[in-house]
């Protein structure tokens, strides 16, 4: 039953942790560089800009690597995130001095300068720098948190949109199915009139006809509920319809249905074939004085299900602008909604006369 239902898109997976860590470190590099420029401007010692940049970026990268790893490993759960805000802030305060020291050490290694000496550490300037480190890290985390919130909102919005689209698609399909499962009042009343006549003339045939009508109605009305049916069911509904029409049209209508054993259980959208067969009879054969034959055949071609509905009726020319246009358009729309580009319906003139509808679908087993 679910083979045709477009499944809801899976919840967008959160980006891998390493990837997020790299993004966050990238952000801290930008912010650290910005801080280094600021410090240089305040100091007024332009010649130290390069050094400041190296130190600041080292401090930022080290801090971010340590703290963001901790955050992503332990505090990424959206429920716990809020509750653990204060402990994280505390961690930020406590870890700012060691991070500053480690960053300076790394920076001096990179610059080939003497590293800070632990006994002489910290002096007043360095305490200022530690505070600056704390501020920088806090600012980075605020930016990161903000960015993550935006991403979450976007993901949720995308998910809601996808869900709405899926619901819309299902509603459209239901509507199209309903459209195809409509019983033409003219057909129903004419059939009843025949039944009324047969009851008096030939009660045994009347019983057979009533059976066929019941089967036709069951298939047609049932189709408004079920999404797919076995091909065998669709064929027996078609045979019931053609049986009814043969009683009505007498010798003017002949029909042949051929369904290979192997395809009996193939699933097809409910009421997909019926309108094509009804078109063949209503527009092809019923208006034709001599009548003719309908042929319905299913086969597998290139791994796909091919169903032919051929009639020897008046042909496409006589259809005019209206007529089966709506039926065919609805069928095509349904196919597009269900299978995209993977299903086709073409209508071509049949040789030597009449119309051939060729339906190609992906082959779906039960």
């Amino acid at each position: 039953m679910t083979t045709l239902t477009a499944s809801l898109p899976a919840r967008a997976a959160p980006p891998a942790r390493l990837r997020r860590l790299a993004d966050d470190v990238g952000m801290s590099v930008i912010l650290s560089a910005w801080l280094a420029v600021l410090i240089t401007l305040v100091d007024g010692r332009a010649e130290e800009l390069y050094q400041q940049l190296v130190y600041a970026i080292c401090i930022g990268v080290v801090g971010m690597l340590v703290l963001d790893s901790v955050r992503l490993s332990f505090w990424d759960d959206p429920v716990r995130r809020r509750r653990l805000m204060l402990p994280f802030l505390a961690l930020l305060v406590v870890s700012a001095p060691p991070i500053h020291y480690a960053g300076c050490l790394l920076g001096s290694l990179l610059l080939g300068l003497d590293g800070p000496l632990l006994p002489a550490y910290p002096n007043r300037i360095q305490v200022q720098m530690m505070l600056l480190t704390l501020l920088g890290l806090s600012a980075t985390f605020l930016l990161v948190a903000n960015r993550e919130r935006m991403q979450r909102i976007q993901a949720e919005r995308g998910e809601a949109r996808a869900r709405a689209e899926a619901v819309e698609r299902q509603a459209l399909q239901a509507q199209l199915r309903l459209l195809q499962a409509q019983i033409e009042p003219h057909m129903l009343f004419n059939t009843l009139a025949n039944l009324q006549g047969l009851i008096a003339i030939d009660p045994a045939r009347a019983t057979t006809m009533l059976d066929q009508l019941i089967q036709y109605l069951r298939a047609t009305l049932g189709a408004t509920r079920a999404e797919t049916v076995a091909l065998a069911e669709e064929f027996s509904a078609i045979e019931a319809y053609l049986g009814l029409m043969t009683v009505r049209m007498g010798a003017r209508l002949a029909y042949r249905c051929r369904l290979p054993e192997a395809l009996r259980r193939a699933r097809v959208p409910a009421m997909l074939l019926q309108p094509l067969v009804e078109n063949a009879v209503l527009h092809g054969l019923e208006p034709k004085v001599e009548g003719g034959e309908v042929r319905v055949e299913a086969s597998v071609r290139d791994g796909r299900l091919e169903i032919l509905v051929a009639d020897t009726g008046l042909g496409l020319d006589s259809l005019g602008p209206k007529g089966n246009g709506i039926g065919i358009a609805t069928t095509r729309e349904r196919l597009r909604a269900l299978y995209g580009e993977h299903a086709t319906l073409e209508l071509v003139p049949a040789a030597p006369q009449g119309t051939l509808a060729r339906l190609t679908l992906p082959l779906a087993a039960a």
Partner: protein, 267 residues
């Protein structure tokens, strides 16, 4: 009371059922033929001259309405035009239209009580006819069919009228001014454009052509022809009693369907 009737119905069981039911209601009724399509119905009606004609609406060949229209055009002679009863399956719109036009109809599945009323009405009409108190059935029916088939002319012309007709004559396309066109006559797949100088063909149905013509000047006079009123000299009856139009600039004459005869009656 004796009556000869023809049933035109493409579904054999329905034809048999209608015949049976009618027999039960009207023993004096003789069913002279049962036509399986609209074309046969017209031919048989012309050959057998029934008093009553039951016409199914949806039939192959001709619909019941087309058959009635054709019969109106082709009915000749002294014998009165048959009484018509249309038979239709569920079709709300058509039923209302029949009632507006006061045309008799029965619905399928046929309800015996409803059919009995129709039979009584038919018997009354035929009695009047025998007593000679009935106006010409054909005229009356033409009026009713006109009410059913011809929608009131739209107040505003939907498309600007054509100025010239581009018609194929051999290899070249002749441009024919509409004022030169005497009439349009539909044949199988083409429409013949008749002028004072000769004829040309266009591949366009009368139904598509009509809305493109100046409604004040061109008018349909039968199922298959549209005439330019500027070129009509006079209207007269041919020896068969059919109305024909004599035209300026042409030797041939144009038949007018009883449906459109009112357009050429004296003022």
């Amino acid at each position: 009371m004796n009556c000869r009737t023809l049933i035109a119905e493409d579904e054999p069981i329905l034809a048999a059922t209608l015949a049976r039911t009618l027999h039960g209601l009207w023993p004096g009724l003789e069913i002279v033929a049962s036509a399986p399509n609209g074309i046969v119905a017209v031919e048989q009606a012309l050959a057998l001259r029934p008093d009553v004609l039951f016409l199914d609406i949806r039939m192959p060949g001709r619909t019941g309405l087309e058959a009635a229209e054709e019969l109106l055009e082709r009915w000749i002679g002294e014998q009165p035009f048959p009484e018509l009863v249309f038979v239709t399956a569920y079709d709300d719109y058509a039923v209302q239209a029949f009632e507006r036009a006061a045309l008799d109809y029965v619905l399928k599945p046929v309800n015996a009580a409803r059919l009995e009323r129709t039979v009584e009405r038919l018997q009354a009409r035929l009695r009047e006819r025998l007593a000679g108190r009935q106006a010409d059935g054909l005229e009356r029916l033409a009026g009713q069919m006109r009410a059913l088939l011809l929608p009131p002319a739209p107040a505003v012309q939907q498309q600007p009228p054509l100025a010239v007709i581009r018609a194929a004559v051999g290899n070249l396309v002749r441009m024919i001014r509409l004022s030169d066109v005497v009439y349009f006559q539909a044949s199988d797949k083409y429409v013949t454009v008749a002028t004072g100088e000769g004829e040309a063909l266009i591949r366009l149905s009368l139904k598509d052509l009509l809305p493109q013509l100046d409604a004040g000047r061109f008018c349909q006079v039968s199922r298959s022809s549209i005439v330019n009123l500027d070129h009509v000299a006079s209207a007269s009856r041919d020896p068969m009693g059919k109305l024909v139009l004599n035209l300026h600039g042409r030797q041939d004459r144009l038949k007018v369907s009883p449906l459109f005869a009112h357009l050429f009656r004296q003022m």
